[in-house]
Symmetry: C2
Subunit: 466 residues, 2 copies
């Protein structure tokens, strides 16, 4: 068994794993990072999960901890100031994300992962091990067994294991068999499929660049985020049953012409048909669990601990914030992993479950409500109140996307706002009713003999004006 | 690979597995039953899960399908007509389960399992394979790999696989890795520990025999069910934190003297101390999933598909009813497993999830409400209405325990009753208010000059009597 007892193992070299390894290295820990795939920096084409990434404040704050925020934002990200809604009649309508200057940023997963892996590599405390696939783990003892690049089994012993190996985490699979480990995986009936919108003939972006484009159609939805190479990655979300019903070119084009007419020329008919039938739609899953640690020997982070559907743009941001929280707990507890791990579960569980639920709810809102009047009225009302009282009234989307207010407190804040609004509405109704009655009294007073009611003793307006 | 392609594999030879194998054998299928443990009929002492079993109508109906109901009920079961509540002051109070003649039956798990295994053995279509532990499975192809009694790997190919291997099902673990398989496991913060109440010195039952004895204490609960050998199996339910706090003999006895004073002499102090510290408390888990089948090649049943906490006494009954439902679907679809399996998931999911939720709710009710006045008043009210209108008003406990009304319809029926009661209550309040106002009018009418209100035109009682 390889003698690495003093070092920490990070399993998974994706976004959260590589950021986590970097942070732990900066904190003075020796870190071994194990990734099952090849080094993506050396590959021409990378398979695997995509869905464009929308980097916002939580993710940026975590990148800042390892000194990478500026590089990512300044050099490689495209700001998106709002949603741009595409209607079936060809009209487009912008809905800003927040106040002026508040933007989210479209970044490529591969680029971000490469930046983070390079940061790991230049950190003297971090060693990278690619093509190491986890075979089994004893999480009580932090013993791991990998199949290495030569196909041989490699057993290692670490001080602790950080499972950052994504929604289908092998580390979590070991936790699942332990008593008192609560777990749920919930698939939604919709799948997704990626398409590409190329640049125009003269090499320009094919649509307004600083937006997240949305074609909301109730049960279906198409979105598109801009890339650095002036393409857009478009993602089609639909029930699997609808994917399955589009069995040939004609059916597909008829469907697109009906629901996404302005997207067809942008994607190109032939490209659309080829891309659509080249791959199957992918499923989307929400994963919740509790706890995230096994004593002081292992901890899961990111999608391994809380995969969510992609509709709030918070999956990566929440995973990166896990790293920030870990770092903040190290400020308090130093290298005392026992205290850090148990407090991490305690602190983080209600926040990540809140954002998982919000993402699931936004799945309905994006498809449906974005296009409804009540949604737009509330959005404008929220932004207006936020404009006149910026620290008193903060819309839900703003707290989630442009602050580090704890997710569960964002939800509580929204519940409080709903209550205030509902009381204001009731108050307005009561005032109108009282005013109506008072008016009637005033009108009727001269004719009181008709009703024989002692109006003289009733002074509603006097009462109102007290 | 063993050529058993025409036969069905049942994985798990516990209660549901052995009943399922029997039923399938009776239906003309060739069946191979694989059980990881030894044949319990040949063992002196059996380890593993216990918690006494309370057999009720659903379980009995399934046993009747294989001709075993009478044997089990007449020869081996002890009827329990109600709960007997033990208060801390030593008083006892019976609460009947239903109307006269409606009883649930205490049966031993081991005995019932032995009866079912013997029935399998005498069925010419069923072959039993003990000490066969499932190692891996390809559920799309119904290929299974076992470690056999000689330690060798055995690969088999079947027409389909029935996973009846309990709450920690190895068959379900394979399903868990498939896309679109929804799953949750939820542990409650309470554990359980079994104790024994021996017969009296003259060989009699130490308490009233035809009851399920309950010591409800809010956060704790002790229950006891009678056994054929005149012992009681008592089960203590408490938060793990409380189990952990009772670290020595003195603390344990002080705790029992305070909360379960009349149980201490029945169990015996030394026996209590010895049993309590001999084993750790066991966890309790609720498991839900969907679907239960992988095409027409595999299906999970019983605890493998829907483990529940034991507080409604329906775990085994629901598992047995799965077998009844399977049998009923075979009445309709013959040997068409594809139709049977997909309809099983469709039909059964909302029923078993309803009983899982009810069992979790009863966890609170048994510890707490059984002792409360509102619970007792509602219970009496329900039984009274049921007595005067037996087919119109059936209490929830009665529909669940003494009928085969689908579980989700039991819950709907209860919701309807709650609504009726709440309207009746509101109706009564409104009637009282109207009567009060009308009375006031009648009283005031002679003195109407004091108020100058034209009473002559207001005839509330006339309106009421229309």
């Amino acid at each position: 068994m390889a003698a690495t007892e003093d070092s920490l193992a990070v399993v998974g070299g994706g976004l959260v794993g590589s950021l986590c390894a970097c942070l732990l290295g900066n904190r003075g820990f020796q870190v071994d990072l194990y990734e099952s795939r090849d080094d993506i920096r050396e590959q021409e084409h990378v398979t695997g999960r995509s869905i464009n990434l929308a980097l916002s404040v939580r993710g940026r704050a975590a990148l800042a901890l390892v000194g990478l925020e500026e590089e990512v934002i300044q050099r490689h990200a495209i700001p998106m100031h709002g949603r741009l809604i595409h209607n079936t009649d060809g009209t487009r309508k912008p809905i800003p994300y927040g106040r002026k200057g508040q933007s989210i940023f479209s970044v490529g997963r591969r680029f971000l992962n490469e930046v983070l892996l390079s940061a790991c590599e230049s950190n003297p405390n971090v060693r990278l091990h690619f093509r190491h696939k986890l075979q089994s783990a004893d999480l009580d003892e932090a013993q791991l067994s990998f199949r290495g690049p030569d196909g041989q089994e490699l057993k290692v012993q670490h001080r602790a294991v950080f499972g950052c190996d994504g929604a289908y985490s092998a580390v979590r699979r070991q936790m699942l068999r332990r008593p008192m480990f609560n777990y749920s995986q919930t698939y939604i009936p919709h799948g997704y499929l990626e398409l590409c919108i190329p640049p125009t003939a003269d090499g320009q972006f094919a649509m307004e660049v600083n937006y997240l484009h949305i074609w909301p159609r109730g049960q279906f939805m198409l979105i598109a985020l801009p890339n650095q190479d002036r393409t857009y990655t478009a993602t089609l979300f639909m029930p699997f049953a609808v994917f399955d019903s589009l069995t040939d070119r004609d059916k597909l084009l008829t469907f697109f012409d009906r629901y996404f007419p302005d997207a067809v020329p942008l994607i190109g008919k032939d490209h659309l048909v080829k891309s659509f039938f080249a791959v199957d739609a992918s499923p989307m899953v929400m994963i919740k669990c509790n706890p995230y640690n096994v004593s002081d020997k292992s901890l899961i982070l990111g999608d391994a601990a809380h995969a969510m559907v992609p509709f709030y743009g918070q999956g990566m941001n929440a995973g990166f914030e896990d790293c920030s929280v870990l770092s903040e707990l190290m400020d308090v507890h130093g290298h005392n992993l026992s205290a850090i791990f148990s407090e991490f579960t305690e602190l983080r569980n209600k926040d990540v479950e809140a954002i998982c639920d919000l993402a699931l709810y936004n799945y309905v809102e994006m498809r449906d409500l974005v296009n409804s009047t009540s949604f737009l009225v509330r959005k404008k009302f929220d932004l207006f109140l936020n404009w006149i009282a910026p620290s008193f009234w903060i819309p839900l989307y703003t707290t989630v996307t442009f602050s580090r207010i704890r997710y569960h407190e964002c939800v509580k804040n929204r519940a409080w706002q709903d209550k205030v609004l509902s009381r204001l509405m009731n108050g307005a109704l009561i005032s109108m009713a009282v005013a109506g009655v008072a008016g009637a009294f005033q009108y009727l007073q001269p004719h009181r003999h008709l009703l024989k009611i002692p109006f003289d003793n009733i002074r509603p307006l006097a009462w109102l004006s007290r």
